[in-house]
Symmetry: C2
Subunit: 465 residues, 2 copies
């Protein structure tokens, strides 16, 4: 039998011993992510490699000995996908945090997995370019974004991580390194391994480099806040706004309660008169961007007219600072939920036109079960973020399961961007088509025959210690 | 042993006997696609199902008996991926040609695989919407587009098929039917089976329904033709045009020879003076679209100024009819090559900034081997379409292999949109990383344990009759 000491010694031959941690040297930071329901667990080892070659060596060691491996970015995930098993090696990418290239001819960035979104944003800005995916947490790492197919508010215009990743370098469980895709948007040259690895939550391969698409950074932005009497009216307005061709950057709805909570949390006064507040059950936030000030002004005017026709109670063109604060506050909705002791959070996705039906059914469900559920969502893409307040675990399980069933019956899916991880695994395995689960397990085995990569995430591992 | 008669009888219990063809009843149409190098083969059976349930039954019969199955759309492919084995069942989707839904609230179309691009375009136009992928052949079927991840000229703005397909219904080799994705742009709920099936050339599953993203149809379009002294100048201009934020719909380059061939073939006179023709080695075609006439005019002006600064010899804003004819002629470049007796065609993809280096090396390669290679390409996305004139098969094989090696060494891939099929398989299996090939074979087995789906496409089947 291989001892912990023996494995640590092997790892220390690959990575500087100061970056191979065991026992008390492993700080609490490595034990958890931001999930509300997955308890942290201290792994047996934390290794901080500096190169893809080291990652490959670590995986070879782990694969030979059957030791589980969990990849870790900055730990901002919400599904417990980077919570390790207690016998696992955590491969922390904090030292692989270099932007290897900003290629302004091909409009791509090549990054290591530990690069954070704010780090990338700062550098791309100097080239008047942008990597447009912002899942709301700027300290998130690109490796984590790839693992969860991170989305966020700008998905309505730019799509999600999946649409921006052109290529990967990834290490398989066997320690073999592959390169997929490249600095191009199209290829039909065998199966798309890039797309398969994206969103696989560390269960198929460890990403050691990503090639990302960049866009021109449009400097002119405006934000409109429009209170509506009902969520139904907001949902009905969305396709008409899209039809207009103005190409909104952000289309969010915030329910009355959530708006009041997030603005209070941020100390933000939007100056909405009380009589408007009294009639508005839901708020639509539209952010637009344009390459010239004139076009932006035109678009704002067009949108304002359209929103009035579509039933908005009023229309506020927010001053830039208030707009930034509101978007920031909306992005922090999770922290508000956490501060208010929410018991769990969801990010179901449904066809965007089905949001009101989903929300009506969810409200009925909550009322029927003495639970409280509130939230906001990406109205442009049907991704609804909800918090549930129900301390009883058994009731919460039943309500949650039914909530997912409602979403799936409307043609939706359990998670738009958080992922299944460990947090939603039970529901996923119970509710998803078993034919697809079996197929995915076979794909998992095709990548990772010994099952060492992030066991217990998405699928059951059978022997979780 | 199962006889052909027995299988035909089984199939006739599933599909109306008039749609189960054998022997002389199988027309030549079912034996080939448009590949220049893959000879047609008559299958043992052609079945024309009407429903997904029938497709599932057909696959159950085939899987039980180990009979290969090749899916067929309208046969416009260029890699021989729908050329069947002589013992195969061809599942022709010509009767599954219904547009099931145009959903203007969620901006999606739901189509059967036999729907053609022109059929879909006609219907979306009545809703002021568009499905933006046009691989240059309007008679192509959506099922075929999904199988090959079809691209085309508009990829620089809208991406390729992969970016537009939100969900699929697909039948596995075992006859089990799965539904993937849905009417939404994001999900992180297990592995992305939609993306894995797209571009798999009929080797993983048979698609029986696709949910496609639609966009507002922008009615105002303009086309600029700009002759340049060199291809290098065109390539250098591309990123600067993208930087400007005008968001071009099409960015194509056409070399002098190809322009002259395609315009002659189409009987099109662009009125370019002889002195310009004499100095222009390459032409850039930029098509723009906008939601208002004013903005389009502004964009045309901006682009014209920019092109002049970037070294264009002259700038022609084409009248709409000439523009349409030129684009059409460019789309028909393949037919011109075929009419001129080209021996093979390629569609290598390289990082777009590497197009000149690629073309220089390809010209040297051709000259060194007494071959002639010419073409045009999607300058905006690095996808280069070339024809080779070299009747000697052995020399052509060597030149082709080296051409692919040059592309791959520049960070590119063998095919941007045609696919590997049977036509490029030998090169693919020789040049691609064996670790990836093995991984893809394991994925293939995860989907299709008996190997009945399109054997001989992408991978060798071992026992090709």
């Amino acid at each position: 039998m291989t001892s912990t000491t023996d494995i640590a010694e092997q790892l220390s031959k690959v990575v500087d011993p100061g970056h191979v941690l065991t026992g008390g040297a492993i700080s609490e930071d490595y034990t958890h992510d931001e999930s509300l329901t997955v308890p942290g667990r201290t792994p047996a080892f934390v290794v901080r490699p500096e190169t893809a070659e080291q990652v490959a060596e670590i995986l070879r060691i782990a694969n030979e000995r059957g030791v589980p491996v969990t990849a870790r970015g900055t730990g901002t995930g919400l599904s417990g996908a980077c919570v390790p098993r207690s016998d696992a090696i955590v491969v922390s990418f904090e030292r692989m945090n270099r932007i290897l290239e900003i290629d302004t001819e091909n409009h791509v960035a090549v990054v290591q997995p530990g690069v954070t979104l704010d780090q990338l944003d700062e550098v791309t800005a100097t080239h008047d370019l942008i990597y447009p995916v912002f899942p709301g947490e700027y300290s998130a790492s690109l490796g984590g974004n790839v693992a969860t197919n991170a989305g966020g508010m700008r998905a309505v215009k730019y799509g999600v991580t999946r649409h921006q990743v052109l290529g990967l370098e990834a290490v398989l469980a066997t320690g073999e390194t592959i390169r997929t895709g490249g600095k191009f948007v199209k290829a039909t040259t065998g199966y798309d391994l890039t797309q398969l690895i994206i969103g696989s939550e560390g269960t198929l391969a460890l990403v050691t480099e990503a090639t990302l698409k960049l866009y021109p950074r449009l400097r002119h932005q405006a934000t409109i806040l429009a209170p509506f009497p009902t969520l139904e009216l907001i949902t009905a307005a969305i396709p008409r706004i899209v039809d207009s061709g103005i190409g909104p950057l952000i289309l969010e709805y915030i329910d009355m309660m959530t708006l009041s909570a997030v603005t209070a949390y941020a100390g933000l006064d939007l100056g909405i008169p009380k009589e408007v507040q009294d009639t508005a059950l839901a708020y639509l936030v539209v952010m637009m961007e344009s390459r010239t000030e004139d076009r932006l002004d035109e678009d704002v005017e067009l949108l304002a007219e359209q929103l009035a026709e579509l039933g908005a109670v009023d229309i506020y063109v927010l001053p830039p600072s208030a707009a930034a604060q509101l978007i920031d506050a909306r992005e922090k909705a999770f922290w508000v939920a956490k501060a208010n002791n929410a018991d769990d959070i969801f990010d179901v996705v449904v066809p965007r036109a089905s949001i009101p039906e989903f929300m009506t059914k969810v409200s009925e469900l909550a009322a029927r079960n003495g639970s409280w559920i509130a939230g906001c969502g990406h109205a442009g893409d049907g991704n609804v973020h909800l918090s549930i307040f129900q301390p009883d675990a058994e009731i919460r399980y039943r309500v949650t399961r039914e909530l997912f069933e409602i979403g799936m019956a409307l043609g939706g899916a359990i998670s738009g961007e958080h992922g299944i991880g460990e947090a939603k695994k039970r529901y996923y395995l119970e509710l998803e088509d078993p034919v697809k689960i079996d197929l995915m397990r076979r794909i998992k085995t095709a990548f990772d025959p010994s099952g060492i990569l992030n066991p217990g995430t998405i699928f059951d591992s059978g022997d979780q210690p």
